[in-house]
Symmetry: C2
Subunit: 338 residues, 2 copies
Amino acid sequence: MSEKVFVSAKEVADRAGVSRSAVSRTFTPGASVSAETRRRVLEAAEALGYHVNELARGLMRNESGIVCLIVSDVATPYRSALLRELTLLLQKAGKVAMLINTDRSDGSVDRALRQAIRYRADASIILSGMPDRSIAQLCLRSGQRLVLINRDDEQPGPLRINLDDYEAAGRVVTAFVRAGCRKLAFANSEVGTPSLMARERGFVAAANALGMEVSVERYGWTGYDAGKVLAQRMLTHTQRPDAVFCATDLLACGFMDAARHQFSMSVPDQLCIAGFDDIEQASWSSYNLTTFAQPVSAIAFKTVDWLSRPRAENDDAIHGQSIGLHAELVWRGSIRGG
Amino acid sequence: MSEKVFVSAKEVADRAGVSRSAVSRTFTPGASVSAETRRRVLEAAEALGYHVNELARGLMRNESGIVCLIVSDVATPYRSALLRELTLLLQKAGKVAMLINTDRSDGSVDRALRQAIRYRADASIILSGMPDRSIAQLCLRSGQRLVLINRDDEQPGPLRINLDDYEAAGRVVTAFVRAGCRKLAFANSEVGTPSLMARERGFVAAANALGMEVSVERYGWTGYDAGKVLAQRMLTHTQRPDAVFCATDLLACGFMDAARHQFSMSVPDQLCIAGFDDIEQASWSSYNLTTFAQPVSAIAFKTVDWLSRPRAENDDAIHGQSIGLHAELVWRGSIRGG
DNA sequence: TTGTAAGCGTTATCAG
DNA sequence: CTGATAACGCTTACAA
């Protein structure tokens, strides 16, 4: 027993003694129904436990209300924070989020986009990875909207939101120099996404402009463990750095822990550290990390706002629209002399 | 321009010179199509960029492939870890996850379940909050499957997965006593969910059984900040505890930071601390927290496994099925003498 | 193996 | 304001 049996509009209509169109109209926001009909329909619906079938509605309206969130590393502080904001705003806008985890296997962003198409998602938001050009084009041709968050600005997609990683990284050089640091280092992961590389390039360039060399090291993924390993490598050099900019807060936490607990260095006295993302842990008093804040709310707001707007207005489908957001430096205690 | 125009099976059929049923059959796993027809359909589909419309398919099959994840505090380490496992396994099982964030406003679990019904979800997995009995019954009556993770065991739902919170909490008393602690304390939040309260009761009961009193304090939400506040309150008592069990790792991290940085206490020498959840940060060397591991993978596995199984087999819809999972104590450095 | 036709639960159109 | 009727894109007997 217990097959899936949902009650349909016809049953409600029968019970309320009206036509099925009347039922449909009752549940369509801007439709004309008399108060009396409406009342009777609502009553019958309540009694029967009727709920509009969004699948059928989507079929007719050619608009599913579904927005796909394509993301890897969901359990990471920054990603999950962005996820929280996005789902919240999407819901407020009457949309529903379909979450596609691209953690395992390669080319899974493409698979995710294909799934978005199969479910006739109104839009896809890509938080991780890069879609293949052809599949992205297919999405756009199908009339699906695409948002790329912190992806390469070269990637196709009608809305691209990017941070000023390069410039931000430059600003931290100034901070280090002001703190009296001379031997700068950059700790990066090997994943080499555009944002990460932009931070590295920006940091190195700004340092070079001041006539300083930067020792760069890359290892592993962008997590805590990689930060520890990076510290082990970089702090055993003959020339120990006195300031290190980590491409990510997670890296910074790992780096700091290793510096303190394995090399007995004091932060920020012997070593200044900066990170990027402003994850919650950066503010925990064990770390108290100076870092750049990802404007999570702003990113989510811009995204959903753009999605909620009518099509015609932003139909820059060929070139795409690019929004640049600013990463604010959050001063805490890991750089001397805030 | 750029209305949503997806290519339909009819167009593929026309191009391939076959009937539309042939197309349908080609994309239905166990259907009989000749190799030649199949090839031509696939070719046409590829050329046109055709993708099955899951909305329409769901309408016919009465099975959407959608599973709703109802959750609050997504950005929290434990929750996001569970989310990661669930989405991954669901995808592997050919399902797709719809994420409903219940952070804001009350009664939103009910709203979420209603949405699950509207999208004809095959199942809903509830990670936070409690559904109203009536709406839960409606889901079940509609043939939607319900899974409750770490909710009250009294709640309705055919699959309930729960931890042995009560017993686990008892085991930490033993650990504290073995470490020579005499003044036990329990730091809890005010949210009072069943799991949290079970930990508190289990801890107090086990301590009482050994003739020890426990000072219990409750404050705020289950986060880091609340942990700090709890420490400030509990460590200014005339009778300072020498061991504290925090209902959550997040609370424990906050508590530990406050104890060290504001009260200059050393952990575990002057104060033993235990937490619950085994979030990633618990293993970071600044905390090195002894804690209970949430069996995240097991939870996700049990859930998806149950969902993948045919209906008849587990149609214990009235009583529901209850799975008890064990929380393993992870020994680290925050209790003396591991 | 194939095509034809009916039907899934909606909404949109169009008379009344 | 209301009710018939025709889509929407798909699956699935049923018949060939």
